[in-house]
Structure formats: structure tokens, C-alpha cells
């Protein structure tokens, strides 16, 4: 395999793995956070606005991890610096 093929294979496989693993783990933790929050709201419905606001902020924090993985895989596929370096040579 020449350099271009190796870079292409490595980028595509890594991009897939990044999104796969990087969506799996945040999904688990988001489910945990939501189930906890629903339990708390069921116990104390008076505190629902505060819990919801904190839940949204926390969910965004967790979700941003998945978004980072997505951005990395998008860079690997559409704007790969190593690929452009090899092609330009």
C-alpha cells in the first residue's frame, strides 16, 4: 500500500470508530442523568424548574463530548490535514 491509501484507510476507520465510541458512552451517561432527574422530579415536583434547568445544562455538557468526537471525525473525513499534505506533494 502506498502512503495515500494508508492515510485514507486510517482516516476512515478512525473516523468511524471515533463517532461510534464517542456516541456510545455519552448516550449511556445521558440516559443515567435523565433517569436520575425524572426520579427526582417524581419525588419532588415542586423543584421541577430547577431540576430541568440543571438537567439541560448538564445534558449539554455531556452532549458536547459526543460533539467533539463528531467534529474530529468530520475533520478526518472532509478536511484531513495529512491527506492534503500528501496530495499537495
Amino acid at each position: 500500500m502506498d502512503n495515500v491509501t494508508i492515510i485514507a484507510v486510517a482516516s476512515i476507520v478512525t473516523a468511524g470508530l471515533t463517532t461510534a465510541i464517542g456516541c456510545m458512552v455519552p448516550a449511556l451517561s445521558e440516559g443515567k442523568a435523565v433517569s436520575k432527574a425524572l426520579g427526582s422530579i417524581a419525588q419532588q415536583p415542586d423543584a421541577a424548574p430547577t431540576i430541568t434547568r440543571t438537567l439541560f445544562v448538564g445534558l449539554a455538557m455531556i452532549e458536547s463530548i459526543a460533539i467533539y468526537c463528531f467534529v474530529v471525525s468530520m475533520i478526518l473525513i472532509f478536511a484531513n490535514p495529512f491527506w492534503t499534505h500528501i496530495i499537495a506533494k
Binding site: T50, R53, F56, V57, A60, E63, V71, M74, F78
Partner: protein, 226 residues
């Protein structure tokens, strides 16, 4: 495939480049400024007010109560900054229902600029409330060991703010673009409406996080002077 609206260049001369992001940002800014100027030109305290004044009052009181709930009791001091952040991001994310529109928040340069403004606004509000010494002392809380981590945290949370907003909006647009090539009839519409929800939530998250950072700086620096 175009990832960001930065790549659509409308006019360039020398090193000055006017791309689609700048144009849309300025159009949105003009719409917001001219719209609110027109509405606030004739404010009334009657029982019957115009419907535009009513919606503007609802937005303002809503943002005010949200800021108060997070812990900044004198919210009128901060609404000028935080409300502008929320309105601009929400407006630029809602407008994706318009045809040929690309959200300027889907470009890393816009979100980085917004995050840098938060980066400078936090110490500005902190110093305004507790003085320079009080603000600088807030870095050494709870103990002096936390000083490097607090300083690193300043930078990483700015980066996280920028990449979070950019990633969410860019991924929304990209999913629609990919689905258009796979199943062009129904699914892009559903994903676009999901993008509207994500856009509003992200605008809310961005301004809530900015409020939380400012509230932390204000409280920690002013508790020292008490």
C-alpha cells in the same frame, strides 16, 4: 461538501474577504437592531399595548427572571450582554427555516468570537463588582493549590463553549445535507425541525453557561470584600 458558510466567498479584494458568514451576521444584526428600535419607538403603559411591545416585554421579563434564578439578583446590569447573546444565537439558529440561509453559528469563527467575548466579559463583570484584587483572589479559591487549574479552566471552557455551539449547528446542517442525498423527501424536514429544537436549546445553553460563569466570578470576588 461545504462544511461552514466561511467557504462561500462573496467578494474579496486583496486580503479583505467578505464571506457569507459576515454578510448573514450583519443582516441578522440589522434586523435585530432595527426591529427593536422600531418597536421601542412608541412604548405605552396603557392597558392596550401593541402586540410587538407585548412580545418584547415577554422576552425581556423572561430573560430577566432566568438570570435572577441563576443567582445574579441585579439582573438589569447583565441583561444587556446576556440577552444580546441569547437573542443573536437564537435568531441565527431559528432562521434555518428560511431557504438559502446558512446559520452563521455554524462557522467556527463566529462561535469563537462569541466565546472570546464571554472570556473577556467574565473578568470585566467580576472586577466591576469586587475590584481587581477581589477578582484576582477568586482564582485562589478554595486554596492556592487550585490556582493553575482555575487558570487552565478559563481557557478550556472558552474552547468548549465555541466548539459546542459550532459542532451542534454544523452537525445539524450536515445531517440535513447528507439525508438530502439519501432520502430527499421527508426525512430532511424532520431533521430540520430537530435542528430548530437543538438551535434553541444551544442558544439557551450558551447564555446560561455565560451567566453561570459571570455569576461565579461576581459572587467569589464580591464575597471577599464583604
Amino acid at each position: 461538501m461545504k462544511i461552514t458558510p466561511d467557504e462561500t466567498i462573496i467578494w474579496h479584494h486583496g486580503f479583505i474577504i467578505i464571506n457569507l458568514t459576515i454578510v448573514i451576521t450583519w443582516v441578522l444584526m440589522l434586523v435585530l437592531v432595527i426591529g427593536s428600535a422600531l418597536i421601542t419607538r412608541q412604548l405605552k403603559t396603557d392597558i392596550f399595548i401593541s402586540r410587538w411591545q407585548c412580545i418584547l416585554e415577554m422576552i425581556i421579563t423572561g430573560i430577566n427572571s432566568q438570570i435572577k434564578e441563576i443567582g445574579l439578583s441585579d439582573s438589569e446590569k447583565y441583561i444587556g450582554y446576556l440577552g444580546t447573546l441569547f437573542l443573536f444565537i437564537a435568531m441565527s439558529n431559528i432562521c434555518i427555516i428560511l431557504p438559502y440561509y446558512e446559520p452563521p453559528t455554524g462557522s467556527l469563527s463566529t462561535t469563537a468570537a462569541l466565546a472570546v467575548s464571554v472570556f473577556f466579559a467574565v473578568p470585566a463583570f467580576g472586577i466591576m463588582n469586587g475590584g481587581i484584587v477581589g477578582y484576582l483572589k477568586s482564582y485562589t479559591k478554595p486554596s492556592i493549590i487550585m490556582l493553575p487549574f482555575n487558570i487552565i479552566g478559563e481557557f478550556t471552557r472558552t474552547l468548549a463553549l465555541a466548539v459546542r455551539l459550532f459542532g451542534n449547528i454544523m452537525s445539524g446542517g450536515m445531517i440535513v445535507a447528507i439525508l438530502l442525498s439519501i432520502s430527499p423527501f421527508v426525512f430532511p424536514v424532520i431533521m430540520n425541525s430537530l435542528g430548530l429544537l437543538t438551535g434553541i436549546v444551544q442558544a439557551y445553553i450558551f447564555s446560561v453557561l455565560a451567566t453561570v460563569f459571570i455569576a461565579a466570578a461576581v459572587h467569589e470576588s464580591s464575597s471577599e470584600t464583604l
